[in-house]
């Protein structure tokens, strides 16, 4: 009730002052994974307020919604387990033992869950129904991020410690290729029949041919290009640059730079709110930033230590 009253007052004030009607913050719950605090912050998106922390066991990093939308999976690496959370409330549904789950991803057809074991140099493919391990691909060094081809036939995995990208055929469960793509490759994204790889040891995103694994182009974004995300309308490619402390917006069609925003404190993962804001975790600042792309301003909310993965559920209602 108090929130509604404050919004009404704000709207009325702006109307009287001729400023137009301000944008109301999107409602819902935000989930932020605090890697070094072993917890997941549950945040009321409209109130900008942390409601509670769900305890993990040791060191959670990334999270992913199941294809049926019934569970939010959080990988706890040194805890060697995946937490299944209720995406509407954050309540723990169950904990499943899984070896070193760092980055998680469901294939677009929903058949496979691919789990990168960063510390154990393994890429595991699980059957999503039984959560049974189908195949383990040992890799050269630190499998970090992943992306699928739209037909679900191939998964691409960055090998952060070896400067390479690896491709695995999920139909035959065989390795396809492992090719150099630049120093310390991290974020991976499929875009317009190419694979984009953010190179944290450089200032660019490498454009890779998915068939051969060869680099065809470099797109300069900023020092320490770490992770990249496509906006929900698929028009903007967002890149976080770890060393520069910036977030770059690129035209997703042309890959031309549109604008760069200063987001200090180790910008890492991004999720998109329905109101157009970007929620960005800041690894070294114990904060999540809410960037308003139109103005370039950002607000912050205090969370736990080393916030990493972030996921927004606008459909959830605050208790």
């Amino acid at each position: 009730m108090a929130v509604r009253f404050r919004v009404l007052v704000l709207v009325a004030t702006c109307f009287v002052l001729g400023l137009g009607v301000p944008k109301a913050p999107a409602a819902g719950l935000a989930f932020v994974v605090n890697s070094s605090s072993a917890s997941i912050s549950v945040i009321d998106m409209s109130e900008r307020k942390e409601l509670r922390r769900v305890p993990a066991l040791r060191e959670p990093h990334h999270l992913m919604l199941t294809p049926d939308g019934k569970s939010l999976l959080v990988g706890d690496t040194t805890g060697n387990q995946i937490l299944f959370l209720d995406p509407a409330t954050g309540d723990v549904q169950r904990r499943v033992p899984v070896s070193d789950p760092y980055q998680l991803g469901f294939s677009p057809d929903g058949k496979f869950l691919v789990v990168n074991g960063l510390a154990r140099n393994q890429v595991d493919v699980y059957d999503t129904v039984e959560m049974a391990l189908i195949k383990r691909f040992p890799v050269e060094s630190t499998p970090s991020h992943l992306a699928f081809s739209p037909d679900s036939h191939t998964v691409f995995v960055s090998l952060q410690g070896s400067d390479k990208l690896a491709a695995f055929d999920l139909t035959s469960m065989t390795p396809l290729w492992t090719e150099p793509v630049g120093p310390t490759p991290a974020g991976v994204l499929w875009l317009h029949d190419k694979v984009l790889v953010a190179d944290m040891g450089a200032d660019y995103v490498a454009v890779v041919d998915p068939e051969s694994g060869k680099v065809t182009d470099h797109i300069v974004t900023g020092k320490g290009a770490h992770n990249l995300f496509l906006s929900p309308d698929k028009k903007i490619l967002w890149v976080n640059n770890r060393v520069a402390g910036t977030t770059s917006a690129l035209d997703a069609e042309t890959l031309k730079m549109m604008r760069t925003y200063n987001i200090p404190g180790g910008p890492d993962d991004i999720d998109f709110a329905p109101d157009g804001d970007l929620w960005i975790t800041r690894r070294f600042a114990e904060k999540v930033a809410i960037l308003h792309p139109d103005t370039g301003d950002f607000e912050t909310i205090d969370v736990g230590r080393s916030p990493h993965g972030v996921w927004l559920n606008p459909a959830a209602t605050s208790p």
Binding site: S36, A38, S39, P55, L57, R58, E59, T77, T78, N80, P97, V98, S99, D100, G117, A119, R120, S141, T142, Q160, G161, P183, T184, M200, G201, K223, G224, R242, V243, G245, P264, G265, G266, R283, F284, A285, E286, D302, R305, S306
Partner: protein, 313 residues
Amino acid sequence: MVDPFDLAAGWLHETFVIPVLYAFGLMRWEELAQGWVLFVVYGAVQVVLTLAICLPLERWRPVEQWPDKHAVGVDIFYTVLSRVGVLPLVTFVLFYQVQVALNGWITDHGWIPPTLEGLIPPLIGHSLLTFAMYAVILDCADYWRHLVSHRIGWWWALHSVHHAQRQMTFWSDDRNHFLDDMIAFIWFGLIALAIGVPPLQFPLLVLVLRFVESLSHANARVSFGVVGERLLVSPRFHRAHHGVLAHGRRSCNYGAVLPWWDMLFGTADFSDEYVPTGDPTAEEALATGSWFAQQRSGLRRLWLTVVSGGKEA
């Protein structure tokens, strides 16, 4: 509530460490470096905190006064090397890697890696209580390691580097032979692995326990009273362990943080004395030599003990 040490480490990491890693093509170590910087900060804070508490205590009620404090200077070198440099690096990087490999292997074989929270599920989410329980278990394990290091000849030869100091101060806690330190770390690490200490807590546990250990070495006439002496190891309690007549297998009060283990296993001495410290059987280099001379002398004593079939101790 934000953690000021974590924020300070984050600032150091972003401002100084990351640019260096980037410039030298070492960004693959960025994530590990982040953890290491945090424990360097904790180590530095711990040294400052130890100074702030122990220095006034030693000035207020010193047990002994020395005109020449050269031997104390060497102990300061030991402390800085250990707590700000080597300790965070070894405890964090090495323990992390070993635990990841071991627990991943255990999970792969269908078992659950051992943790206190696994044994007592309500502990999940109560990190302070869990931290305290891990500290108590590790302190008990350290009691036994310490006691055995006094009973086995070759081990005592190494450990005597620690006991040879006649000018014992709060800096003396880290005065150890590097082989003795290594054995202690392996023992400590194995126990921590067996009970599932979180890798991000392990270096912090070491630092917290070491803080109490520093205090217990202080050259201060400080006792915690009849009850307090039985709750936490005091400078008086630990001084008895370092007494000139208590070297080698004749010693007492082996507990590092909690005196409970000495009380439980019959090795406690609560007599109200502040005895002179040192090892009369050690050669002079062990007491007053440089860091290098002490390490070399410790190795020589080890060698003599081994070739004499343990009689040297």
